[in-house]
Symmetry: C2
Subunit: 215 residues, 2 copies
């Protein structure tokens, strides 16, 4: 049965969060949970939770709640957690190296197979047993290793150039850390990470709570 | 007039994105835009845009669209862009240094005033003209400099400990990069950045597009 067609992207965007919470519950051997309990843990309304989870089947039972493991597995299926993706990092500066050291990604199926930079002082150095390669070899590597995703942690001006090279060489997805909404005229999935958006939300909340007494 | 009370957090979360797009329009001297045009640029439905922007006043006019500058300023007001926040970074590893080098944050009003680490090899070194201080001096610094926000880029196990120290010393907000939903029994705003959530969404989209022909 294919549940995927019924799930909207708005719901999908909340699934990684459910997935994390359910994983935490499993770790402490909690086998079932009500939407109310999940609600108070996650800070999402119980009705939103029921609505979200109903999108892909009705695992919640009146008076029983959700079976944590089934729900966890089902969300994992929808998110394609069983899939493996080959990823590379372009840019071995601080952000690139920070990403390289997130072992969490591998647990989620994102295997790091290469790191690239133009800096001759970095090329040849090892990061988690991977040697940093020169950017010149990017295209050949992508094609030879069937790389799925390129994580872009290069300077702002370089981002569209490197993105285009990676796309032309055959990556299917780009994960972009430059503060721009990268768009390309290719059939490719792009996720732009805007760190400052999250900081601005934090600023907004602070403002509402502590500083907003002027008006 | 105080628009803020009318704006739900769900809408607020989309505002940084509007803000960025409107800023880009201003840069290329576009003074007005219809919800349809904004929709095709942003990949949000026009009706969602009208609904969002109606939440804080009706700047859109039939047959004219939105005045880009007014809208930009208004969203900036709601997000409290005129406010200045004093921030520190705890953890001068790759992620901490990557954050320190995001000059974008300063443009948004987040001034970096200190960086802390426990590593004696890092303490005393300079990052963007700021000397890295020892974590021992955290509390004194927070209280003396009236630090608003601590950005946490420390190892997983250290995160709750450092968070608690920062909270007790008086920071009002925490921006957490450890892959955990940090919670504290203090009156403090916490934004947890889960980078892997965004990567999982990318994986989901790839899966839907390229790999989902098995079922």
């Amino acid at each position: 049965m294919n549940h995927k067609k019924k799930v909207s992207l708005a719901v999908v965007k909340r699934l990684p969060r459910y997935y994390r919470y359910l994983q935490d519950l499993l770790k402490v051997d909690i086998t079932r949970i009500s939407s109310q309990e999940l609600s108070s843990r996650m800070g999402i309304t119980a009705s939103q939770i029921r609505q979200d989870l109903n999108c892909f089947g009705g695992f919640g039972q009146q008076g029983y709640g959700y079976n944590v493991e089934s729900l966890y597995n089902e969300i994992g299926n929808i998110l394609g957690m069983a899939n493996k993706y080959k990823t590379i990092i372009v840019g071995a500066g601080n952000m690139g190296l920070a990403l390289a050291n997130y072992t969490n990604f591998e647990k989620r199926g994102f295997e790091l197979v290469g790191i690239f930079d133009v800096d001759e002082n970095l090329v040849g150095k090892s990061v988690r047993e991977l040697k940093i390669s020169h950017l010149d070899s990017l295209e050949k590597f992508i094609s030879k290793c069937h790389v799925d995703i390129a994580m872009l942690a290069v300077p702002y001006e370089q981002t569209p150039i490197v993105a285009e090279r990676a796309a032309k060489a055959g990556v299917k997805g780009l994960w972009n850390f430059s503060p721009m909404d990268l768009k390309l005229p290719y059939d490719i999935i792009i996720e732009n990470v805007h760190l400052s958006d999250s900081l601005m939300i934090l600023g907004y909340k602070l403002n509402e709570k502590y500083y907003d007494s002027k008006e």
